[in-house]
Amino acid sequence: MDPVDINIYGIQGVYILWVLTAISMFFFLRRIVKIVGILKKAKPENRFENIKEHIVNFILFVLGQKKIFGERTIGLPHFFFFWGFVFYAGSFWWNLIRGLIPVLPIPYSDEVGIVALALEITGVLVILSIIVAVLRRIFFPPAHLQQSFDAVIILSLIAILMITLLLGQGYNGTLEASVWSPIGGIIASGLTGISESTAIAAFKAFWWVHIIAVLFFLAYIPYSKHMHLLASPFNVLFRNNSQPADLTINSKSEDVTTGASKWNEFTWKDLLNSFSCAECGRCDRACPALNSGMPLAPRVILHKIKEQMYETGFKSTGNGIPELFAEKISKEELWQCTTCMSCMQQCPVLNEHIPVIVSMRRFLINQGEVEQTVQDVLQKITRYGNSFGQSDRNRAKWVTTLEPKIKDARKEEVEYLWITGDYAAFDTRLQGITQKTAMIFQKAGLDFGILYEAEKNSGNDVRRIGEEGLFEIVKEKNIQSMQKAKFKKIITTDPHTYNTLKNEYKLNANGNSISVHHYTEVIDELIRNNKFSVNKKLNIRATYHDPCYLGRYNGVYEPPRKILKSIGITLVEMPRNKAKSYCCGAGGGRIWMEDKTPVKERPSENRIREAVSLKDVSTLVVACPKDIVMFQDAIKTTGNEEKIEVKDISELVFEAMG
């Protein structure tokens, strides 16, 4: 039976199908061409290297829907939506082509037993998934989920597709039973007593409703939030594989470090983020700035750029586009990002929010628009090479009381060059901890040295503020100093320093890259190799805060935990741990900024609240100098001095060494 074989007022079905297909394809293609046109007007960026990794990403995150499972309720349903879509889309094109060209010697997809069975099973799974999705939207919507009318339309459309197929199968089942159509059979058993002609008419009607719904869906997709369905596979395919939240824009033809203030100043990949967004709100839910009651919302940033593209991108010229800061994105919210990367960690379509935000910060910096406290710090780093605005000569003041003296790696060869970062060296609250770390290294017989006054701020946060020029300068200076020193590996104290040295300095000696280690990795290794003995097990219950730039950025989760275990500490995890760790609020230059608007609860305060809620835990262990500063403050402002104290992991190791 050919469902296309109908006749409406003398017009044959096949012609109707041709007309409907043409209309649908017209709207679909017109929009796609326009959107591709927008992307072509954007700045160039090479995302075509490492093809193998791109394909692996595609398999994991598109076909495997890996990130979607981050939220359990909707994880499996969306998995079924995706595969249902793929399967039904395949079946649709098959049937459409068959219907448009009646002379083709092939059956319709549902006339092939195994395909019919698969369609029915998928249909049922998708219907169940829709029920979950609807219940979630109505009864337990997560915060920041966009309850748009768009979503209602899409869910209804999907439901129509599934129901029409199954009912069609049911009516078809009354004509001839098939072992390949169990669901159809069940429905058919409820349709006893209808005539053959009614059954045929109903089957054809459902076929047409189904195909019209798909054609509508097709035309509607690129106009709706379901654009993500077309854009996100490419977004995943072209993700930056070299490092998380990479700020190096690989573009030979144009200098893109001047930043962006309007859509056509972003790279095409930056814009693809906006088209890929499914408005699920996971990034917003994870954002420490947003949760503190600040106006920044990562999803909204991408959305506003999309809005501007739609408003001005379809015109032929790029002139007259207003700055995003004029009405869409406030400068204030851009400065609120801590670059903690929670948003990117959560995003199921692998959107890259941080490079987009930093791009806009770069623009502002290039205009000289930066708040006074940050300007002061940038000028201090420019002049003195450290964010504290102290003389170079003070950098190694903390070593003066140590015996034996710490080697000067510029004068003596060492195995490890230790780069402490500014906070560990200059902050009087932290120098004692840095000394303890040094004493641990000394007791363990580690061969290490420092650069003394030649070390400069590594520029990790400078870069994230958007001051690319200054980043390049401090990087050059540090590399020059390192080239004068003799060493094999690098240890860092500050995870921010760790991140940039490891991923952005591209250090190498004689063609071999120099490995960069966080001090927790080194101490863990020293313990495992029995380089020092734990004389005093601490026997306390403690929790550990994963620094963003150590954990999420660089995947160092286990070494600190292993250290804690080996010194006798019972680790009690906070609900948000490892990749879901909650930022202390210091990153991305935030530590140098002041809160302009009243804040509901600072990220560090929120985190302290989480830590004190743990049973019988009175120690919060950290592995980042900035965490000590942030959390000591937060403990005071939340009045939790009696309940919890913050300790650097080095302090505990030192204590355990006895």
Partner: protein, 259 residues
């Protein structure tokens, strides 16, 4: 308007200051030089005035270590021309500096009724802010120090100024142009100049050098001796309960013969 800003470098007190063996100067091995803070404000104010009223800004500075950075910074901010004055003189003070600047103007920069001369209102080696007044005297122009606001009336060709006095008082002045103005603070804090912009300026712009001969420059005051502050007394913290502190305080008062 033609804005001319006179600048000079001063020792950076963030770095350790050491007195040289002659006992009269700072050890140049140790010091780093930077633009005086008021001078930075003077550059900013000149650029702000240029943006408001049009014209050109010329930054003129005495040669010193690290001066080029400061001049390129001024160019990146919006100055149109940067001039470095070189000469045989060494360790000059305000009267001599004023003389050098005045000489520069006489030979290179004709002053007309569209010229406004700016400088920092004081610096660590010009504590009284005397430079501006010396300059005014030498050029025979009205001079104003400690200025925090400058406005210009093009129709009248007059400037109005706000001058800060001690005790939070302010005075409003009006003057004809040309005039010499010592800037205490620009209308807005000096803007941030991104490194990329400074680097671009370094490639595209150049600093003009002008030599001013040594002869005829008065030395002014001469330093006999430079020394670090001497400790003359110290604070003592009284500790203990309130009663104990009162007890100790009474003891101290009676020892000193106060009670």
């Amino acid at each position: 308007m033609k804005f001319i800003v006179f600048l000079k470098m001063v020792p950076d007190v963030i770095e350790e200051l050491k007195i040289a063996d002659d006992g009269k100067t700072l050890d140049s091995n140790w010091i780093r030089m930077k633009l005086s803070e008021c001078d930075e404000n003077a550059v900013e104010e000149a650029v702000i005035l240029k943006e408001k009223f049009g014209g050109t800004v010329t930054a003129v500075a005495l040669d010193a270590p690290e001066l080029d950075d400061a001049l390129f910074n001024a160019l990146a901010k919006g100055a149109d021309k940067a001039v470095k004055i070189v000469g045989e003189w060494k360790d000059v003070r305000s009267p001599a500096i004023a003389e050098i600047f005045a000489k520069y103007l006489r030979d290179n920069y004709p002053i007309d009724n569209q010229t406004l001369i700016l400088s920092g209102s004081q610096s660590i080696d010009d504590i009284e802010g005397e430079l501006v007044y010396y300059l005014g005297e030498l050029l025979n122009l009205p001079a104003f120090g400690v200025i925090t606001h400058v406005d210009y009336d093009a129709g009248q060709n007059r400037i109005s100024l706000v001058k800060e006095f001690a005790g939070g008082l302010r005075g409003e002045f009006e003057s004809e142009v040309p005039a010499v103005i010592g800037i205490q603070a620009a209308e807005k804090p000096p803007r941030y100049i991104p490194i990329a912009k400074i680097r671009a300026i370094m490639k595209s712009a150049s600093i003009e050098e002008v030599e001013i001969p040594l002869d005829g420059i008065p030395s002014g005051a001469v330093i006999d001796k430079l020394f670090e502050p001497e400790t003359s007394g110290k604070a003592e913290m009284l500790e203990g309960s309130t009663d104990e502190i009162i007890e100790k305080l009474i003891g101290i008062f009676s020892d000193k013969g106060i009670i």
